[in-house]
């Protein structure tokens, strides 16, 4: 059965998601049985977030809900649970410094302090020009051998020093 409450009016997915996103989401949907469309929700949210400079608006989540025939609240639950989804506007480059135990032992606090001072913002904030978003990384990023490390827009950088961090971040557009 359709699980979308009949009283809820959702946007047509095409009006919110671009053609590329729709295509990608449909590709993911094709991997699951017809009545298990919601299995594609993580992938769909990821695609939708990518379309929107790294964050999910309510409208985008509603479009995903409509596309996958899910109640919007179920999509909000998923989006708000996983730390890789942002549900508020953030800077266009996502900088996530690992602060888990191995990186912490290798001096990640210094790296965090350096970056916070460099931009005058705290973890969780974005720079005013919308360039850098300092993500609060909750999980170990599984590169303990290279700590301290950070992930910048899906790319891992290991064995960080303040100088190396400057070099990497300054090179961003």
């Amino acid at each position: 059965m359709s699980s979308v409450p009949a009283d809820v009016h959702l946007p047509a997915p095409e009006t919110v998601l671009n053609e590329h996103s729709i295509h990608e989401i449909e590709e993911w949907m094709s991997r699951y049985p017809e009545d298990r469309k919601q299995s594609a929700v993580l992938a769909a949210l990821s695609i939708a977030q990518h379309q929107n400079q790294g964050w999910l608006s309510t409208e985008l989540m509603d479009a995903v809900a409509a596309k996958l025939d899910m109640p919007p609240i179920a999509v909000y639950e998923v989006a708000s649970f996983y730390s890789m989804f942002e549900t508020r506007p953030v800077g266009r480059h996502c900088v996530a410094i690992c602060t888990n135990i191995s990186c912490m032992l290798m001096g990640s606090d210094t790296i965090v302090d350096h970056v916070e001072n460099k931009y005058g913002i705290k973890l969780g904030d974005s720079t005013e020009d919308g360039r850098i978003y300092l993500k609060v990384e909750e999980e170990c990023l599984a590169a303990c051998a290279g700590g301290p490390m950070m992930q910048v827009d899906h790319v891992y950088h290991t064995q960080l020093t303040p100088e190396k961090v400057d070099e990497i971040l300054d090179a961003l557009d």
């Binding site: 059965m1 359709s2 699980s3 409450p5 009949a6 009283d7 309510t58 109640p71 919007p72 609240i73 179920a74 909000y76 639950e77 708000s80 649970f81 996983y82 730390s83």
Partner: protein, 783 residues
Amino acid sequence: MSDDTIQITVDGTPLTAKRGQMLIEVTDAAGIDVPRFCYHKKLSVAANCRMCLVEVEKAPKPLPACATPCMPDMVVHTDSRVARDAQKGTMEFLLINHPLDCPICDQGGECELQDVAMGYGNGASQYTEGKRVVFDKYIGPLIATEMTRCIHCTRCVRFGEEIAGIRELGATGRGENVRIGTYIEKSVVSEVSGNVIDICPVGALTARPSRFTARAWELSQQPGVSPHDSVGSNIFIHMDGSTVNRVVPRDNESINEVWIADRDRFSYQGLTSAERVTAPMIRVDGELQATDWSTALSAAAAKLKSDSLGVLTSANNTLEELYLSQKLGRALGSNNVDHRLGQADFSAEDAAPVMPWLGMGLNDLETLDAALLIGSNIRKDQPIAALRLRKSALKGASISFINPRHFPLHFDAAENIATRFDRMVTELYAVAKAAGADVSAMQDVPSIESEERHQRIADALQNGERAAVFLGNISVQHPDYAQLQFLANALAKATGATLAMLPERANTAGAWLAGAVPHRGAGGKAVQGNGRGLNATQMLDESLQSYLLVGVEPELDAANPAQAVKALQASNGVVAISAYLSDGLKQVADVVLPAATFTETFGTYVNATGNWQSTRGATNPPGDARPAWKIFRVLASELELDGFEYNSPEDITRELQASCGGIQLGNLTDFSSAPAFAAAREADLLRAGETPIYATDPVVRRSQPLQKSLDGKQAFATMANAVAQKLSLGDGDTVSVRQNGSAVTLPVKLDNNVPDGCVWVPTGLPETAALGELFGAIEVSKV
């Protein structure tokens, strides 16, 4: 003893259980107390609060009783050291983030957390860190939120998903940041949303209208019956001194289980409306003025002694009021008695059963295999019955609709036919034909071919072991009711399905039994004296000399409000027995006798299953208002009529009961003459509509919280995009809606659920009260 039955031992007591039954069900049945928050007998098992941990021998650690299936020879300790420690540990963690605001919390005194904390909590907390704070979002006028108090049991989330069929609340965030809510600011729109207030074990979700008004232990309670729909949900009326503070459900497994609709719960807010009549009134120099009872009664008696009297009595009245309405009318020599104010087509009234009823128990709605609902918005008209029907749908029943528009459903319909109202007969005919029903007696039938969808409905009804054909509220208001009745009858006969009638109002079944119809007396017996009287529409078609209106608001209840008000105005003998003075009554009434409402009088309600439920008054009527049965008694004595000298209202019930002995209930009837086919109407634009959920009766109409909720906002001219385009209208435009020379202004709402050629304009609303019949030609233009 079947193989399924096993023996277990709990706290040294041997107990019998079913294999696989959850342990908590067995301990609950045995009266062994196991603390719990997330477990609720009507909801799925979540096992997330961990409060019900018990020790099971041979298990390495404590197990949650709510999610532990019983196994043979299991030995359980609910009160051992291990169990106690586990429960105390859970309690300590649950209290970490719970605020200590019990003194200002509405749940205080009836709080599951408070109770369990008394038994399992520590006197002091070891927790010294900051507590979590959650900012509230507004989720509508009915439910107040204080989400800092939430302990994440997810009962409300599961209720929405599993019972109400609307997933509106959810658990967003993660870990310590989990919040229960709607995520975005939005009103919860379920018609049964108030139940989350009862199932919330803490004070996170409380009733907004009664917020901060009383402490639970100061309230006294009295059992009652909800008088708003034909389910007859059982309620408790909670009183703070002499006023109703709130209404909560009273468990009755065979009627409302443990739920009530928001309408049942919050209608009481209308009891104290400024429109209550607290003193008798008579018209002096064109104005209604308060007076004393004896003046008003003699004025009323003078008006009622006339050559042509019409008695219109609301099917929301008590059985006793309905019975006395017709008894008084008939004692005055008039068979012009009717409760069917909203009905437009009376041509099949002789074929009507003694009383319209469900033809089955309410619990049978849960086990249907197939159903066809004709002209029914059951979700809003009989919300609790709809929850039961939904259970059938979830089990895979094929449930279909033939309606004048698509209504939002909380389950998937097999076939959901929404057509112009004047084509509903055609659709039903096609289903009947597909089922091979004998409809040959119907004249003037055009060529109608059954299509696949009709065949699928017919097959489902035929193949279903337990199948039913329902006639809903909209059918009763439909101008082709006779045709719909005839075809539904034929269809039910052909398929072996039960013909189920959903009585329109709380006491529609009772009104038939009480004889509040022009062609039958009490107990459904043929009328005596000067033959059949006029029906409600005939009474209002041309003005009679005098009218007695009992609990009626003509401009909101009548099938044709404009005509009703006109006819009543032309008569100068309108006596109203009413709890409220509506705008319409203000215009037409010459004498108003103030009556008690449902919480203020003894009364019986006959529900859809023919169950007579009596309740006593819980509070006193305001001012000089009196229970209507007493008003009838003194009015009859003023009129020098015999037979009204009742000492107690139960005498009236007994008198009627005596007339109702030996009644055979059954909805299937033989039509002595079949109605001719109803052709499609020829009009550019047609009005269709319904009586919306919060416009059904005088009390509900005045409950501000209900009126402010989304379901209460219904005064729109709703039309499909195609219709709006043709009329060059957009969403939110203001339009003039004209019908038979009267006009109202309404905002436009675009909704493709309304079929082409139609504008959906509901009745029962002050905004549409000046219009005419609910189904008919209409003109709409931009202003």
